[in-house]
Amino acid sequence: MPKVKVKRKGVALDMTAMCDVAFLLLTFFILTTRFKPNEALAVDTPSSVSEIKLPDSDIMIISVGKDGRIFFGIDGQPNRINMLQRVADDRKIQFSDKEKYEFSLMDNFGVPLASLKQFLSTPGEKRAKINQPGIPADSLNNELRTWVFHSRYANPKIRIAIKGDRGADYKVIKDVINTLQDLNINRFNLVTGMEAKPQISSL
């Protein structure tokens, strides 16, 4: 039998299926992505074997940096404005609508109340370069207490998490925990990274 000579042509691949897959994955990533927030304070959290996930919403995060600076942030823009309004009323400070709006855009902040107004009026790019001194939490001027107190009124469902740097001194963490306990908050979360649970050999 003579061999049939097949003329080779460029193979036209049907790309439709591949395209479907690509866009399916794309949709998945678009929906699940959460951009890394521009953090003013770098916190390198310690790792733990805990398997509880940190919730995304209704959360207050008190960050403690390596140098002991305390930053504070809650989620939700209306909650932030509500909280600022309450704190302003409490401390007799006036904030303009623009300042409130600027405040609501910040994920977290670390400036004392006295310089908050000035901080908010600084334009965005300049503000990112300001070295924020942290929120005072000592017993003489415990502004952290004020913020925590009013944020719980702004959002009663809020849960509290402490995000400490692994190198932070325990003294600062102790101050934060004491502040929370003063407000009768005895249940909170510590934000940690993931770590595999080691096997324990029975003794």
Binding site: A12, D14, M15, T16, M18, C19, A22, F23, L25, L26, F29, I30, T32, T33, R34, F35, K36, T45, P46, S47, S48, V49, S50, E51, I52, K53, L54, V64, A161, K163, G164, D165, R166, G167, A168, D169, Y170, K171, V172, I173, K174, I177, L180, Q181, D182, N184, N186, R187, F188, N189, L190, V191, T192, G193, M194, E195, K197, P198, I200, L203
Partner: protein, 187 residues
């Protein structure tokens, strides 16, 4: 590159005849390219690992301490977190140690360190009638201790399943006690 190819190809004459041809085939290659490019972008920018959280319950400060909740000193293991990731532990109270009843020792956060001690003590003391280990771990951290040490010791509590533990404020007596037994460790 985006070319349209008619279904059968070559059959239609002068493009007038509209036969029962399939839908026009679109070259999907650039679309796939674009799709994968965007996937790559989102994959690289996304933060997939959600941070974990560790639940911590502290005792209520406002209430008067419950009187009958006194614990047996022989069941308590006190762990003191010191400077430079050092860790000291002893059974019983400071007084018991000073009387020579229990030793005070130094350890670390490795698997052969405090974990072994906790597991050993837990096994020694056994469980109560509810099946909860009798061992009570009291954690005290010096001001100079790092936050990481605190998380690590809480982690050890989870790993060893020592159900009863408490974070207690350190008092100057504890620091003096450690300094006495391990000179130079707290300076």
């Amino acid at each position: 590159m985006a070319e349209m190819m008619e279904g059968g190809g070559g059959h239609d004459k002068k493009g007038k005849k509209k036969g029962k041809k399939g839908a026009p085939r679109v070259d999907m290659t650039p679309m796939v390219d674009l799709g994968f490019l965007l996937i790559t972008f989102f994959m690289l920018t996304t933060t997939m690992s959600k941070p974990q959280a560790m639940e911590l319950n502290m005792p209520d400060k406002t209430n008067e301490p419950v009187k009958d909740q006194l614990v047996k000193a022989s069941q308590t293991l006190t762990v003191i977190l010191g400077k430079n990731d050092k860790l000291y532990y002893h059974m019983g109270t400071i007084k018991d140690v000073e009387e020579g009843q229990y030793p005070v020792e130094q350890s670390d956060f490795s698997s052969q360190g405090i974990r072994k001690v906790i597991l050993q003590k837990k096994a020694e003391l056994g469980v109560d009638d509810k099946g909860i280990p009798k061992l009570i771990v009291v954690i005290k951290a010096m001001d100079e201790a790092k936050y990481r040490a605190m998380v690590d010791i809480l982690d050890e509590m989870h790993i060893t399943e020592a159900k009863r533990y408490a974070i207690v404020q350190i008092i100057p007596e504890d620091v003096a006690f450690i300094e006495k037994h391990f000179p130079g460790s707290t300076i």
